[in-house]
Amino acid sequence: MALVLNEEQQMLRDSAKSFIQESSPVGALRKLRDSGEEWSPELWSGMAEMGWTGIAIPEDFGGLEFGYVGAGIVLEECGRTLAASPLLSSSFVCASLLEAVGNEAQKESLLAAIAGGETVFTLALCEGDRFDPTRIATTAAADGDTYVLNGSKKHVLDGDLANTFIVVARLTGDADSEDGLGLFLVDRDTEGLSVSTTLNADNRRVGNLDFESVRVAANAVIGKPGANGAALARALDIGAALSAAELLGVAQESFERTLDYLKDRKQFGVPVASFQALQHRAAQLFCELELCKSCVLKALQAIDQDSPDRSTLVSMAKAKVAKTSKLAVNEAVQMHAGIGMTDEFDIGFFMKRSAAACQEYGDYYFHSDRFAELGGY
């Protein structure tokens, strides 16, 4: 498959760009923050109208079936304006899990609701502060055809917006063993579940969940308990690749804004952009960003094509983009200098969102380690 957007995908990019620039420029994030809000339900409705909430969901279940390259295009544009939404959690990661292992009834009802943006799902996976998809101590004990959950989850993305959590819990084995995990649908208002949220630097809220004997009915079990490893792994790869796509938008936009600033701003009587030391740093960053573009597109194609190298390509993409994005936002603030440090100026928002997105679905360290492991060393 050619490593290039086809015509349909280019049109999607154009429409995504103009929608998001208009309905959710960076100023929208500032307004949300200043009024103590995390997201805009109006933006979410707009996204649903654009079809984005179902962009990766099969047509049979009300989606556009545009694939994950399409999802990445949308998220990259969201990254450029730092638009907050539960697209990644709900429409991409959770939807992929439901599609992969949900039964027909679940798919019919839940995928359609996700595709329409009527409900928001999120994955409740990690229990520590660093991304670690295997260390699961939350237990699910069978009781007849129901299950009883006990334990806790931390830093659940979009934890304040989600109506329903897909909870990963342990049926058997130690906290570290990879097998023995089940997936359970738990509504926000279920008895025994308490949810608190934390405001993060990027003005998004993550959830901290406590399960005290939370009873899950038989029809809220997704897939076959203990045998969802492949689907979960794929969903997490989708999360990481799309998080790389969003981060690429963040990094690319900070770079372009910085470049414009350097050209405008004068020091010592000349444009700052004429200083060779800054030129070389900008050129180096440009090269890294070009590599990132190739990585992200390839990783998303690998998901769409179910490539055997999917995980390697995804870890490459997330590691590379995380490293580059960190460089990009650091250079952006440093090159904006004093004004870049002020809250009044927008560039700091990019730095904050970059730090958060770098960690979502595994940071640079997680993915470069996994890349090496998959490479046999």
Binding site: C126, G128, D129, R130, F131, K154, H155, T198, L199, N200, A201, D202, N203, V206, R265, Q267, F268, F275, A277, L278, K326, N330, V333, Q334, A337, G338, G340, M341, T342, D343, E344, G348, M351, K352, A355, A356, Q359, D363, Y364, Y365, S368, D369
Partner: protein, 391 residues
């Protein structure tokens, strides 16, 4: 030297007697640091008492001349005082830009009358000073400053704006670079002026940073009348004073890289946060980066030590301040990036009950390599002044 030992014993006894118990507690909030000045509200009688009895001996500025109210101590005695204060974890009685910045410049450049007027107030913490160098749109090109002080016969008329004036909203007086010759080449028309912040026409505006609230302000002057006697040094020679002050400031900011000495090392913090596998930090990529950082941190600390020892031994190059500013601030940024990685998702939290969050420290650290002369400016200085590269 027996008299040094005697000085130590006397100092120890005096401190034991004079330093109130609560002034030996760690700093927990902003109010615990006493800045003095007209409007300071002491958080306790003990805070006031501690300032007064230290100021009386001139020990808020231990090495300044006795004639202006300073401590008149030798370098060795001042070091002993510092050690003895550290021994009982005594707080600094007074935080002051007057002591840390303005005072040394006044002692070097001011007239006798000016010294007698301003220095005792500084030592006693009666007047709180702020600094007015940077201006909107000037940035690294400090000498392009535009704040005008026009000669109106009996006074200067000051118009223009300053940014990054720390605590301007809380300060009593400002020391300020202003343009007094509007036709001269830019470095040559600058003068060094002092004025009262309550003068009509002065207003301040706090600046919010990406890390949240900050002590920085924008300070605007509209037709502010400043007595001519408030000029320090020669007219249009203010740039020399500025350079002297900036070198001083660079050394202070460079020290950031080490400001957490005595606390846990990054490696130990990582072990607590991440855990150990096969006898090593469980996350090996971070382990490598931490080792790199700690090696640099230790090498930097040793370099400060070496610079000081070389200066003492008369071997110094005298050009170290740019190196220390550059490296120290970049190290502090690295440190904070690593702390963000070590902390993982937890480090992203924006709100906390106990002071600033890690995320706020991290964002604030980005300013280290900008304030007091950007890293790029330091690299230029090193290349040109130390390495003798042309252009």
């Amino acid at each position: 030297m027996p008299n040094l030992e005697e000085f130590r014993q006397q100092t120890r006894a005096w401190l034991e007697e004079s330093c109130p118990a609560s002034m030996r507690n760690p700093i927990n909030s902003d109010k615990d640091q006493c800045w003095g000045g007209r409007n300071w509200v002491f958080e306790s009688d003990e805070q006031r008492l501690w300032l007064e009895c230290m100021a009386e001996r001139g020990w808020t500025a231990p090495q300044w001349p006795k004639e202006y109210g300073g401590g008149g101590l030798s370098r060795e005695e001042a070091k002993i005082l510092k050690q003895e204060m550290a021994r009982i974890t005594a707080r600094r009685p007074l935080e002051s830009f007057g002591i840390d910045m303005l005072g040394p410049a006044l002692l070097k450049f001011a007239s006798e009358e000016q010294k007698q007027r301003y220095i005792p107030e500084i030592i006693r913490g009666e007047i709180r000073w702020c600094q007015g160098y940077s201006e909107p749109n000037a940035g690294s090109d400090l000498a392009s400053l535009q704040m005008r002080a026009e000669d109106k016969g009996d006074h200067y008329l000051v118009n223009g704006s300053k940014v990054w004036t720390s605590y301007a909203d809380k300060s009593d007086w400002i020391f300020c670079l202003v343009r007094t010759d509007f036709d001269a080449p830019k470095h040559k028309g600058i003068s060094f002026l002092l004025f009262d912040m309550t003068s009509p026409g002065v207003s301040t505006n706090p600046i919010k940073l990406i890390s949240g609230k900050s002590p920085f302000c924008e300070t605007v002057c509209e037709n502010v009348k400043v007595p001519k006697e408030n000029l320090v040094g020669e007219l249009n020679k203010g740039w020399d004073i500025a350079k002297y002050l900036l070198t001083h400031e660079r050394e202070m900011i460079g020290g950031f890289g080490l400001s957490r000495a005595g606390t846990k090392t990054l490696g130990q913090m990582a072990v607590s946060a991440i855990g150990v596998a096969d006898g090593r930090l469980a996350e090996r990529g971070i382990r490598t980066d931490i080792a790199d950082f700690e090696i640099d941190e230790m090498a930097f600390a040793l370099t400060i030590e070496r610079v000081v020892d070389e200066a003492k031994a008369g071997q110094g190059t005298g050009a170290a301040s740019s190196l220390l500013k550059l490296y120290g601030t970049e190290l502090n940024k690295d440190r904070n990036e690593l702390l963000m990685s070590i902390g993982g998702s937890e480090a992203l939290a924006w709100e906390s009950e106990g002071g600033e969050t890690q995320a706020q420290h991290w964002l604030r650290s980005k300013g280290n390599s900008i304030e007091g002369g950007t890293s790029e400016i330091q690299l230029n200085i090193i290349a040109k002044r130390i390495l003798g590269m042309p252009g």
